[in-house]
Amino acid sequence: MTARPVAAGLAIDNLSVVYDEFTAVDNVSIRVEPGQSFGIVGESGSGKSTILRAVCGLAPRTAGAVSLVAPPGDRTGALPAPGSREFRRRVQMVFQDPYGSLHPRQTIDRTLAEPLAIHRMGDAETRIERALDEVGLGKGFRFRYPHQLSGGQRQRVAIARALILEPQILLLDEPTSALDASVQAEVLNLLEEMRRRHGLTFVLVSHDLAVVTHMCERLMVMQRGRRVEELSADDLALSRVSDPYTQRLMVASRGFRRGGPEAA
């Protein structure tokens, strides 16, 4: 394995994303230290995925700034700005739906070769085989098509596609919500191992509080484009939450209760 650049964090300052009349993200700031894992929790339409999309340039930034954070004492010089090719290499995304995010007519080999070509990284053969080994698939999967793979295997390909560019930050948008529970555990374990091995920084978006507290040290709860509160995973686990919306999410995550508040 080649020596990797040191970890980088991510700072989002007063980000807003506005589509016509609709404000998808309303003045949100977060700071993720290098090597940290940060979670964003919320329901549909809360703007959680839009934040990730705005970071990697898939959604317009109406206001605010996104920047990389160097680890303390690091003097390697200027960090790439969002939108630059180097920023895009260092910040990679894994999407929710492995059925939709892989090109159905391209082999796994082509899916993995394309980012390497875009970023002019040589030695494609070795890198592709290594990436497939790393995510537990092996060379045998190289010339298969997505339809020949299970959901969990496809998500491993999506992770390999992100990791092959040796990124510093992974943006994970509901990476396991389309998967069966047993497959979810395998993919979460893989992500944690990759984070440890490569010193990655994670920003994980999920509607599942248990998944976020399992994967992240800190998290932000969002509702209707706004930040509700930011807290540590331990606070959440011990029910040390102040906002009623977060409390509602917590109760909901425990399942159905006959005569619960919804029955009213």
Binding site: E43, D180, A185, E186, E193, H214, F256, A263
Partner: protein
């Protein structure tokens, strides 16, 4: 209530559903499922490919035409479902046995207003005037806790949220006053808080109307908190039956594995235990 008696509204004995495979043979998706259902909430839990949805579809007679359904017995209120004609099945379907599917985005007709779709269901099963049909549709929308039924009646599916769409779906099923509701992942496309609201609505309807409910889901935690009884399916078979809240007492290694591999609030387990699928479970 003068519907079927409590014990045997639905009897399924050794149900098998098979589909042709590429080798020219048949592959069994459901391999000998048996259960009885009264006026209760029965959960069927399993992962993709476990046969849970095919079990529900076979009861309704909605198995794809190339599929083959066999059983020792499959009866609803004493009616032999295996040997009834397409016409008899059609009369039951939607009328006495209703189904709610996962995603309202795909299961509602996109070019028909919600109210018209509900009225269409009623027209298929009862002779009523336009006026009465509309009134009953509005009343049903009210029963699924839609605050402003007149407004929602005229809306199209793309104009409503997922939770509202799913309420409309449930309203559509209820208007014919079925005895049995088969709900296949009815809340999986919805947010957690909306999920619970819908379950509370379903729960009340089942209790008030004395309906039977088959609740098919991949979500073990949700089903175990909602249903009276749970069948756990794996590879086309029921591997275990659990009573409400009896998740902790699960005996089968598959069920236990499934419970264990879920991350839990307030527990640090790194890495998460994974499921070691034993070939003998699928025997």
């Amino acid at each position: 209530m003068n519907g079927p008696s409590v014990a045997d509204m639905l009897v399924v004995d050794d149900l098998r559903v098979a589909f042709p495979n590429r080798e020219g043979g048949m592959t069994e998706a459901v391999r000998g499922v048996s259960f009885r259902l009264g006026r209760e909430r029965l959960g069927i839990v399993g992962e993709s490919g476990s046969g849970k949805s095919q079990t529900g579809r076979a009861i309704l007679g909605l198995t794809a035409p190339e599929g083959r359904v066999t059983a020792n017995r499959m009866e609803f209120d004493g009616i032999d479902l295996l040997h009834s004609s397409a016409r008899q099945r059609r009369a039951l379907r939607g009328g006495r046995i209703a189904m709610v599917l996962q995603d309202p985005k795909f299961s509602l007709n996109p070019v028909m207003s919600i109210g018209d779709q509900i009225v269409e269901t009623l027209d298929a099963h009862a002779r009523v005037s336009r006026r009465e049909a509309r009134d009953r549709a509005l009343e049903t929308l009210r029963q699924v806790q839609i605050d402003n039924p007149e407004r929602v009646f005229d809306l199209y599916p793309h104009e409503v949220s997922g939770g509202m769409g799913q309420r409309a779906m449930i309203a559509m099923m209820l208007i014919a006053d079925p005895d049995l509701l088969i709900a296949d992942e009815p809340t999986s496309a919805l947010d957690v808080t909306v999920q619970l609201q819908l379950l509370a609505i379903l729960d009340r309807l089942v209790t008030d109307r004395g309906m039977g409910l088959v609740f098919i889901s991949h979500d073990l935690r949700l089903v175990s908190t909602f249903c009276d009884r749970i069948l756990v399916m794996y590879a086309g078979k029921v591997v275990e039956e659990l009573s409400a809240g009896g998740l902790q007492d699960a005996q089968h290694p598959y069920t236990r594995g499934l419970v264990n591999c879920l991350p839990r609030l307030g527990e640090h387990r790194h890495p998460l235990p994974t499921l070691d699928r034993r070939p003998e479970w699928a025997l």
